[in-house]
């Protein structure tokens, strides 16, 4: 099941050209770029791990794209996203966030029904990969 989080996630995966163009747009807006990665695909997992520091004063998308590539290479079985922060509001404001890399295979989520008092049902989502150890969740063998 394909994870759709952030901007452009319902589109086919962006090519590197398209990623560079989006990064360049963010730079032109004065936003700082950060590369983040995770292997916990739960939609409520907002805090992904940072790949290096945010890039505050770059002029060209090549700088951002080289970090995206480096992160992909280091974590081929993780999700990688680019976030752009707009600092003009004086607080951390995500202006743009989109996935730039995803694992080859995405098993998706299990819907869990929990029966509580008075036959009421509570629903929750459980990623199948969450049962596997952190860091190895998307490394399938065979």
């Amino acid at each position: 099941m394909r994870i759709t989080q952030g901007t452009f996630s319902s589109l086919p995966d962006l090519t590197d050209d398209e990623i560079a163009a989006q990064i360049q747009y963010a730079i032109s807006q004065g936003w700082s770029i950060a590369v983040e990665f995770t292997d916990d695909p739960h939609p409520r997992n907002n805090l992904w791990q940072m790949w290096g520091l945010p890039m505050f004063d770059i002029a060209d998308a090549a700088a951002g794209l080289s970090e995206v590539r480096a992160c992909r290479e280091a974590y081929p079985h993780h999700y990688v996203r680019v976030s752009a922060y707009d600092a003009t509001y004086g607080r951390q404001t995500t202006a743009l966030s989109f996935i730039v890399h995803r694992p080859a295979e995405e098993p998706g989520f299990r819907l869990e029904r929990q029966e509580v008092a008075d036959r009421r049902i509570r629903y929750t989502l459980h990623p199948y990969v969450a049962d596997r150890p952190h860091g190895k969740r998307y490394e399938w063998r065979g």
Partner: protein, 364 residues
């Protein structure tokens, strides 16, 4: 942490009154280059307007406008191509704004011509590897290295070899960290900032301190080399500094020497050129030298040139600042009524009171 790219030395904005740029090919004035007449091939094709290929996406060349190659018998008008890329204008500005520096201007013209021809070849589908553009500027302080680097960045952007054409000027402190593990992120951050433009490393030989084997400079050099090789399309590195020390630096870092294609030596200015620079600076500050002051300045320069710590264009600028200081002091202490002419004119006395005339070894 980084100094802004200041136009130290003999660079100044274009002022009316310089020699007018003739209409013809700016490159052709440097050396003979045939400019064939008008051809249908060049007409009506926007060179810069096409969609830009993505940065660093497998594409080895700069964003060339033409996608499909021209037929083998087509002709391109080089002059027209230059005009479209605004090269004439850039080289003309270089000529007007910088006094002297003939060998430097010739080399810049040669590089511009090479890149232009490379671009034209590309339009016929003649793909050759992207030329290495990393450079080394050697010369005394104040000979216009930073100014030429700024112009070079603009030129490379005009020719499509750089996407942004900005200049990031750094020294050792901006690249080398203070403790283990500090250097790599610091150097990488600077490189990222310079991507799409030119990274000017001033006094690059300080990166390498041969006497201290635990110095972190070597780490910065290794990262630099790696990026200079792997991301040649994304940035151009210019090393600047004194000639002899730079030679020593290259001797101890052969990897660096082999990755630098263009070595440009900036000659010291002659007395006549320094006076010409001073005239332009004085005019730009809306001052005027009286005829006596002109003569005094000539003598001043002759003396100052042979004293220690002479920094060419930068010394001229500092000297003019001190003349202004003395002129102001003179006017205020006189305490009489002054007119516009008094405020504009620098007298010989303002110059002759300089310590250059009285002491042999000290700054004036």
């Amino acid at each position: 942490m980084t100094r802004p790219a200041e136009a130290g030395g003999p660079g100044w904005p274009a002022e009316p009154g310089g020699p007018a740029e003739p209409g013809g090919s700016a490159l052709a004035r440097g050396f003979a280059m045939p400019a064939p007449g008008d051809t249908p091939a060049a007409a009506g094709r926007p060179v810069n307007g096409g969609p830009q290929p993505a940065p660093g996406q497998g594409e080895t060349g700069p964003p060339a406008g033409a996608r499909e190659s021209l037929p083998d018998d087509a002709l391109i008008d080089i002059g027209e191509e230059e005009r479209q890329l605004a090269i004439c204008e850039l080289l003309g500005r270089l000529d007007r704004e910088l006094v002297g520096l003939v060998p430097v201007k010739t080399r810049v013209r040669e590089i511009a011509a090479l890149l232009l021809v490379d671009r034209l070849r590309r339009r016929y589908g003649l793909r050759s590897s992207r030329p290495t553009l990393h450079m080394c500027f050697t010369g005394s302080p104040g000979t216009g290295k930073t100014t030429v680097a700024i112009r070079m960045a603009e030129l490379l952007k005009g020719l499509g070899y750089l996407r942004r054409g900005h200049l990031v000027s750094v020294t050792r402190d901006d690249l080398v960290g203070e403790y283990v593990g500090h250097t790599a992120p610091k150097t990488k951050a600077v490189l990222k900032r310079a991507m799409g433009g030119v990274l000017l490393i001033d006094e690059a030989y300080y990166l390498c301190r041969a006497e201290n084997e635990r110095d972190y400079g070597q780490e910065a050099i290794e990262i630099l080399l790696q990026v200079m090789e792997a991301q040649r399309d994304d940035l151009v590195v210019i090393l600047a500094g004194y000639r002899d020390r730079m030679d020593a630096f290259f001797r101890s870092n052969p990897g660096m020497a082999s990755r630098i294609a263009h070595h440009i030596d900036f000659p010291d200015f002659s007395a006549g050129e320094l006076i010409r620079i001073a005239e332009i600076m004085v005019e730009q500050e809306r001052y005027r030298l009286s005829p006596d002051a002109h003569q005094a300045f000539r003598e001043y320069i002759e003396l100052r040139m042979h004293q220690p710590r002479f920094a060419n264009g930068r010394s001229v600028r500092n000297a003019i600042d001190r003349f202004r200081l003395r002129q102001a002091g003179r006017l205020v202490s006189a305490g009489v009524r002054v007119g516009k002419d008094d405020l504009v004119r620098i007298e010989a006395d303002d110059i002759r009171r300089s310590r250059v005339f009285t002491q042999d070894s000290d700054l004036g």
